[in-house]
């Protein structure tokens, strides 16, 4: 018996949006015990679909055609009260960001018990007992303690486990997971995916899994629906769709997914390093006054590496590994506590104040968030010229150079007169790259520069980075949490954990023959690239053709 079937669903966006319908003519069925992945890039309408099923659409966004059947009922015709009793008991949902989805002022146990309370199930004592059972089932460590913990006391993965416990409380037939692992580290992601798979099989639930990541689809999905701009372009078994995609868009999307195999070695260090870092350390101290002890976090411990012109060094690690702190020390946004940084044979740490300001252009940075890294009130022309003008370049010359750089990063000259909000994420990242290039840097630090982008855009920006690196013979330090991306662009890779580099070497060596346990576990946790994975098979087929 079908758990839920969506038939010819169309959802309208408010007037003034970039298209009329968020989703159009969407149909799919979800059988019990099945994991259906809805995959697509941002703006494809995948989350709108999930929210429509839960009746969680914002007021201005309303369904205009089709129906969502669950048993006998059409969910689109139910009243808000009927939807309320259905949510939690028959369909439950988990979200991307467990920190914001949990109430920060409520203990985990109480939040789980609240689900029973909302549906007037069980007595007070039974609720607490059931909450403890659930906490055990989702594998939170030390359940007796976890039940009394507040969300901030848990790690990201543990919070997502708590969310899952809440979703499971009333044994729903349908679990909707909206990008549940996107905010998590790769090893945690693997654990959560295992947990979802395991619980789904044990409870015979149907799971509607929304994601942008084909690796995750290969890992957890039974069937997959590929969406693009509100339309379903392809649907089928994960095994067939991923190993033999039919639609052009699916092919392009899967081709853009970076595989977990290093690109062929390109650079052979024939000249000395331009930048060398040795024994770099940075410790953060926060709080601490007359009455309290300061919190001390050693973010970077004794890090040593060097990089030559035209080379790309990848620094990979999970969140909290200190990779960004190391990058920020190199560009001197942070002052390291100890260690040497040598740039072109000079002591880079010696420059201070005005002297530092004059030299800052030599080491530039590309930031992660394409939305936060451009001043919303400044036109692109000033974003690109402010830096050079501050360094004494005449305005007219800076403007001419800015135009040149825009075409170099693949944007039209007309972009000069526009504001950042008029561009897409990928275009903004191109502007960010142009801003860094405008300074004629010698070293470029890219801090998670492609992490916020869709896969197809990600591939383009990676190509652009490789291109400018070769064109200007830049030393590129590429900081990322994503091993697949690192494999594409890096010549050498340094793996960081808890502030220290645990392994460093040529990309091919690190990926082909990882020495350190941590590197091995990181590589094993990357979803979707096992030997039998459909993605691997398709890639092999491509290579043969």
């Amino acid at each position: 018996m079908t758990v839920v079937s969506v038939e010819n669903l169309a959802v309208a966006l408010p007037s003034g949006a970039d298209r009329k319908l968020a989703v159009e003519d969407i149909s799919f069925r979800l059988e019990p015990g099945e994991v259906l992945c809805v995959v697509g890039e941002s703006g494809s309408g995948k989350s709108v679909t999930a929210n429509a099923v839960m009746g969680l659409l914002p007021k201005e966004v309303r369904p205009v055609a089709g129906c969502i059947r669950m048993g006998e009922r059409d969910l689109l015709t139910l009243s808000e009260t009927e939807m309320q009793s259905l949510r939690g008991s028959e369909a439950a949902m988990i979200f991307q960001e467990p920190m914001t989805a949990l109430n920060p002022l409520m203990r985990i146990g109480d939040q789980i018990a609240e689900v029973f309370e909302a549906h007037k199930a069980l007595s007070r004592r039974e609720r607490q007992a059931k909450a403890l059972d659930l906490i055990r089932e989702v594998g939170l460590p030390d359940p007796e303690k976890a039940i009394r913990a507040y969300p901030f006391e848990l790690s990201g993965g543990q919070r997502q486990r708590a969310m899952i416990a809440m979703a499971l409380a009333l044994e729903p037939k349908l679990l909707i997971a909206d990008e549940p692992t996107t905010a998590l580290d790769v090893t945690t992601q693997a654990q959560i995916l295992d947990l979802i798979r395991d619980l789904q099989q044990r409870h015979g639930m149907a799971v509607l899994f929304i994601t942008h990541d084909f690796g995750v689809v290969a890992e957890i999905g039974d069937r997959v629906v590929v969406m693009r701009e509100g339309l379903v372009v392809e649907e089928g078994l994960v095994d067939t769709v991923l190993s033999d995609p039919q639609h052009d868009y699916t092919k392009r999307l899967i081709a853009a997914v970076p595989p977990l195999s290093p690109s062929p070695a390109r650079y052979h260090g024939e000249e000395g390093p331009i930048l060398s870092v040795s024994a770099l350390s940075k410790t953060f101290r926060s709080g601490g006054g007359l009455f309290s002890k300061a919190r001390v976090v050693p973010a970077v411990k004794d890090v040593t590496f060097e990089i030559a012109r035209g080379e790309t060094l990848g620094i990979v690690g999970e969140s909290g590994s200190g990779k960004s702190t190391a990058g920020r020390c190199v560009v001197r946004l942070l002052e390291p506590d100890a260690g040497q940084i040598t740039l072109q044979g000079e002591d880079w740490r010696a420059a201070q104040g005005a002297a530092l300001r004059r030299q800052r252009k030599r080491v530039q940075m590309i930031f992660q968030d394409p939305f936060a890294s451009l001043n919303p009130r400044t036109k692109v022309s000033s974003i690109l010229t402010e830096g050079p003008v501050a360094n004494g370049v005449p305005r007219a010359k800076a403007l001419a150079r800015a135009r040149e750089l825009l075409s170099l990063v693949g944007l039209d000259e007309s972009a000069m007169g526009r504001f950042p909000h008029e561009f897409s994420g990928g275009q903004r990242q191109r502007i960010g790259i142009a801003r860094a290039l405008a300074m004629d840097p010698e070293v470029l630090v890219a801090d998670e520069a492609v992490s916020a982008l869709d896969v197809s855009v990600q591939a383009q920006v990676l190509d652009l980075l490789a291109d400018i690196r070769d064109r200007f013979r830049l030393a590129l330090i590429f900081i990322t949490h994503d091993l697949c991306v690192a494999a594409q662009i890096c010549d050498r890779i340094a793996v960081m954990r808890e502030g220290a580099i645990v392994e460093m070497g040529n990309t091919a060596d690190v990926f082909g023959n990882p020495q350190h346990d941590y590197t091995q576990s990181l590589l094993a946790a990357v979803p979707g690239w096992g030997e039998s994975s459909p993605l691997t098979r398709w890639r092999r087929k491509l290579a043969e053709a």
């Binding site: 530039q364 968030d369 936060a372 001043n375 400044t378 402010e386 008029e422 561009f423 300074m439």
Partner: protein
């Protein structure tokens, strides 16, 4: 991606969000009336508001042309209201402007430089915040001798701490933004970063706060005048109420009309502040509904 492609549609968008708040439209209309009355006061009442023009204690509508009646000395209350509007608006706007001139740099420096600077500047701000503002204003005006400029100064000196606090908070959160760090990396000076990168992005909440500060300043000026600490050369609403308070039972109109004028002006400014808040922070506004 849809976008607001030029300034004209940006302004239209702003106006659309502003007018969604009906109270804000009423507020704007009221303030316009007050501004127009203030501007054409010399045309409406060519004679000085201090001049005695009719018999004293004349109730409203008793004689044509004297709709608001006269006060204890036979001065036209209508003229007082019109000229008082000038004083109230002038003091409200100028003192707010001066308060912004003091508060924004202090808040910006504290938020941007942090550390010791922040500590020192915020303790200084707290020093002003711990003194009851009205008492401080009275003392300042009494020391400086009442005049328009001393009143403006006194009001500005008690009104700037909230501005400094607000600007500091905005700077604290904005200075760790990536575009600010990018500006640091391109070698721009601290001053350039403060004025070009951060300050423009803090303006929306400051504008909302300023509209409310104008209202508070008008109230404060009225209170000072009521106590006889107003500029003796200009007619103000507060002075009119203060002068009429002894005859409140016999001649209600002498205090009620200027009182209503203060009430409506302050109310209108608060409504405008709320409308500006809706228009400048559209996300917050929608959540409230």
């Amino acid at each position: 991606m849809t976008s607001i492609s030029n300034k004209a549609t940006g302004a239209r968008d702003f106006w659309r969000r502003y007018t969604r708040n009906r109270g804000a439209i009423i507020g704007l209309a009221l303030v316009w009336i007050v501004i127009i009355v203030a501007l054409i006061a010399p045309l409406l009442y060519p004679q000085s508001p201090w001049r005695m023009v009719q018999r004293p204690f004349m109730p409203p509508f008793a004689v044509d042309g004297f709709w608001f009646g006269t006060d204890t000395l036979g001065r036209d209350i209508g003229a007082g209201l019109a000229y008082g509007a000038r004083v109230s608006l002038l003091i409200g706007l100028v003192s707010t402007f001066v308060a912004l001139l003091i508060g924004i740099p202090i808040g910006a420096a504290a938020g941007y430089f942090g550390g010791r600077w922040d500590d020192a500047l915020m303790r200084f701000t707290e020093f002003f915040q711990t003194i009851p503002s009205f008492a401080l204003a009275i003392v300042l005006v009494a020391i400086l001798e009442p005049s328009l400029s001393s009143i403006v100064l006194a009001i500005a000196l008690v009104a700037w701490p909230p501005v400094a606090r607000l600007v500091r908070g905005e700077f604290l959160s904005l200075r760790s933004r990536e575009y600010v760090q990018a500006a640091v990396l391109t070698g721009q000076s601290s001053l350039a970063i403060i004025f070009k990168q951060i300050l423009p992005n803090t303006l929306s909440p400051v504008i909302v706060l300023a509209s409310l500060m104008v209202a508070t300043a008008i109230l404060l000026e009225s209170s000072l005048s009521f106590l006889g600490l107003g500029d003796p050369n200009v007619m103000s609403w507060g002075y009119m109420i203060g002068a009429a308070r002894t005859v409140l039972r016999q001649a209600w109109w002498m205090s009620v009309f200027p009182g209503v004028a203060i009430l409506l002006t302050v109310l209108a400014l608060n409504l405008i502040g709320e409308g500006l808040n809706d228009a400048l922070n559209p996300r917050l506004a929608r959540k409230g509904r």
